[in-house]
């Protein structure tokens, strides 16, 4: 097996004195497609921010065995201010790392890369639109382009399916299927019914993390994991998810 991109070892983190995640252990490999599920307030977003280096480390250790990790981050929708005067193209450009802090302009290769990205995503016609004039799906697409423009090793998506319609959701999952061949993906979602058929493995996050090395998960297991996700209420075809491994 190849080396992991990222290792979390006995990690704890939180806010001020409140510890939100405790004793987290997780390895992410280059070909991983991990679904992260858990109840509201369970700490999914906190875990994502920890991986991205946005959270203080209370204890434990995070390291990157194969060197510096390029990440692409699609934050939870509420993080982005839609009324901010910024265009689609500018948002996508912001996904490119600044090479020289004293001359932080886009290089011509980077400019071409942004145009290519917009073209590929079918956003070229909206390039100079302010983000306030986009539909929910178009905005998510823009933010996904921002995450992808630098060809990340690890793509992290925090509930990409909230505030978008079913059509966009299907489209999105189609792309993720393709992208998962090129990069590792961490997909946070409440909607375990829809994500389980695509992801390879599942992690339940509720104060602690339970890693489940398969995409088949039962309600029983979630109970054992102390991960009260309401399977029945979510997902169009719940029994597909509920099926217990019958080969065991």
């Amino acid at each position: 097996m190849s080396n992991p991109l990222l290792v979390l070892e006995n990690v704890s983190t939180g806010y001020f004195s409140q510890t939100v995640l405790e004793e987290i252990n997780l390895k992410v490999y280059p070909d991983d497609f991990i679904g992260i599920i858990g109840p509201n307030g369970g700490g999914k977003t906190t875990l994502v921010k920890l991986i991205l280096g946005l959270q203080p480390l209370f204890s434990g250790r995070i390291y990157f065995p194969v060197g510096k990790l390029r990440t692409g981050y699609l934050p939870q929708a509420t993080q982005v201010d839609r009324s901010f005067p910024i265009t689609v193209k500018e948002v996508v450009s912001s996904g490119l790392k600044i090479r020289n802090p004293l001359f932080p302009h886009l290089t011509s290769t980077q400019k071409t890369r942004v145009d290519q990205m917009l073209e590929d995503a079918g956003l070229a016609g909206l390039a100079s639109r302010p983000i306030g004039e986009l539909s929910g799906g178009q905005l998510q697409k823009t933010l996904l382009c921002r995450a992808l423009v630098e060809k990340p090793h690890l793509l992290i998506l925090d509930e990409p399916n909230s505030h978008v319609d079913k059509k966009f959701e299907r489209e999105l999952y189609g792309w993720l299927g393709e992208l998962s061949r090129e990069m590792a993906i961490l997909l946070v979602s409440h909607d375990i019914g829809t994500i389980t058929p695509m992801v390879k493995t599942i992690a339940c996050v509720n104060h602690s993390l339970h890693y489940h090395p398969s995409n088949q998960i039962s309600e029983e297991m979630l109970k054992v994991y102390n991960c009260p996700v309401d399977i029945i209420a979510h997902g169009p075809v719940p029994h597909r998810v509920l099926r217990v491994h019958d080969d065991e």
Partner: protein, 289 residues
């Protein structure tokens, strides 16, 4: 008043200085104000503005330059507010309100206990654009040039930290550094503008031209030059009106900026979405070529 008599006002040095000050202040406010309006932190600007009055009072009491006192208080307040919001331990808006009123209170106490000559408070509250001298103008000019260079060189990190700081951090941008730097820039821009438009009116020159510009464009990059042009036009018109109607200059400037906003807003509303959309489409098409 005869036409020629009316235009002769432009020959006076003090009036030329006032126009230069209005234009330079508009340029400074266009950049800093667009940053403030976009980030929705105009209230922080209010806190900085009023807290600086404490510095003015203290400087008077100690016999120092009041604007130096204002600058020190403004920068400290701005850094303090940024620190509070960075740490998130106190409610930011309440902290601003405290600094806002405390600054005003300190200012009044110090002015009151300063023996002898009591400074003309009106000068600070409403500015004194008609008595701006060459040193003031040079200071405004240098700061405006500094800001233009800063925004030209560091445009991307400034914009990205304002738009989505968390994401910017994941791309290795020194977000805290930029936030603190912009706080200091905001404080200095506000203090320099107090000289021209005064504490009570300073916020409007940082917001009205910007929201007017945002009727035309919602692209940060373009809001700035639009805001500079609208601010300069409105404030020069205000100065002329102040002379013609014999009313206080800074109040007339703000009044004109507001009228300008209302006229443009009304125009866009009356001509309807149709024309608005057509103009925008033309603009996008032009952009793509």
């Amino acid at each position: 008043m005869m036409m020629s008599e009316f235009f002769s006002i432009f020959e006076y040095q003090f009036f030329q200085n006032a126009i230069a000050a209005a234009v330079l202040t508009s340029v400074i406010a266009s950049m800093v104000g667009t940053y403030m309006v976009s980030r929705k932190i105009v209230f922080i600007g209010g806190g900085i503005t009023h807290a600086s009055f404490g510095g003015i009072g203290l400087a008077y009491y100690m016999g120092l330059n009041p604007f130096a006192g204002a600058a020190v208080f403004a920068v400290m307040t701005a850094l303090g507010i940024e620190w509070i919001s960075d740490k998130g331990k106190v409610r930011e808006d309440s902290a601003i309100a405290v600094l806002w009123s405390l600054g005003m209170a300190l200012g009044i106490i110090f002015v009151f206990i300063t023996p002898g000559y009591t400074p003309n408070l009106m000068t600070f509250l409403f500015g004194s654009i008609l008595s701006v001298g060459i040193p003031d103008l040079l200071l405004l000019l240098f700061f405006a040039i500094f800001l233009v260079i800063l925004f030209l060189v560091f445009f991307r990190p400034i914009l990205y930290t304002a738009f989505d700081p968390e994401f910017a951090k994941t791309k290795g941008i020194a977000v805290s550094l930029y936030r603190y730097m912009m706080s200091v820039v905001m404080a200095l821009a506000i203090v320099l503008s107090i000289r021209t438009v005064g504490i009570i009116l300073v916020l409007s020159i940082f917001t009205i031209p910007q929201i007017t510009a945002m009727i035309f464009t919602r692209d940060f990059r373009k809001v700035i030059p639009w805001a500079a042009a609208l601010g300069a036009f409105g404030s020069v018109a205000g100065l002329v009106a102040a002379y013609a109607l014999d009313i206080p200059a800074s109040a007339a400037v703000i009044f004109f900026l507001t009228i300008q906003f209302l006229i443009i807003k009304a125009f866009f509303m009356l001509t309807g979405r149709l024309l608005n959309l057509r103009l925008k489409n033309m603009f996008y098409r032009y952009k793509k070529d």
